[in-house]
Symmetry: C2
Subunit: 137 residues, 2 copies
DNA sequence: ATACCACTTCAAGTTAACTTGAAGTAAAGA
DNA sequence: TCTTTACTTCAAGTTAACTTGAAGTGGTAT
């Protein structure tokens, strides 16, 4: 069974070592054994860290993560887990929808300013922002 | 030309009035006239606020927004504007990619726990997480 | 006119998520 | 063995983005 030092994990997940220790302080990562006083991680820790990053990336706070991880999937808590995942899933749906919309808007802005530059270089009439806004609705 | 009170704007954009004043302190919203000492907003302010929300939503910090808004689109700053928008656009691309991936992962997790519940209710063998992870890569 | 209530300013406080500093320990290489 | 370097703990500090509190002002309904 492969093991990893804190600097291995830090590099692999692009997280500072202090953050890994911080997550352990919060109880998000636990049962990390030590060789001497150095942390030794295994694949189970990495899997859990992946989950932490996934939930955090999608807007869950660390304290919500503490709540989620406090539920025992082998008990009646299962319903709470499913509920929370369901709610979070719908939140991420909405986030995606809005992010895509914002993305299109930013692309339009970029296009608008590029067209201004081109028009200036070629001494053409400047574009109007009103002509760019239409496409979304 | 329609005008709006701070409470109108606050409701329409789901932002507390304090946040609108805060953005004005930062110089992100400016030239907001007063009737007596009450702020009076117009459509140009709303358009600017939309832009602020769009950029903020997509991960730009308020200080980056200050920088962007400090550029004068009628001067040679145009290149800087296009550069910044271009860079931001690519960042949002990447954000979207990761968010979609995370979204799929969360859906799988939800499905996994739902299948556990079903398996328990029907006294079937429990699913294994390994069978859910495959689909992404 | 008057009373109310939404607005105003400005300084200080809050929160989440780290990050840094100081002081100590121990694994790994010469 | 010795030294270097990467780790350790724990408390305190930082940052962004607001938010709150206190004290005052003025538009609007009666």
């Amino acid at each position: 069974m492969p093991t990893y030092s804190i600097s291995d994990v830090s590099k692999r997940y692009h997280l500072p070592q202090t953050t890994l220790r911080y997550y352990e302080d919060l109880g998000l990562l636990y049962d990390v054994p030590r060789r001497g006083n150095h942390r030794v991680y295994n694949d189970a820790h990495l899997a859990r860290l992946s989950a932490i990053c996934c939930f955090k990336n999608t807007g869950m706070t660390l304290s919500e993560l503490q709540t989620l991880f406090s539920y025992d999937e082998h008990s009646a808590d299962l319903d709470k887990i499913i509920d929370l995942l369901d709610r979070h899933c719908r939140e991420v749906d909405e986030k995606l929808r809005i992010l895509e919309q914002n993305h299109r808007q930013i692309k339009r802005k970029r296009q608008f300013y590029e067209d201004i530059r081109t028009a200036r270089e070629t001494h053409q009439p400047l574009p109007k922002w009103a002509d760019y806004k239409i496409t979304d609705f």
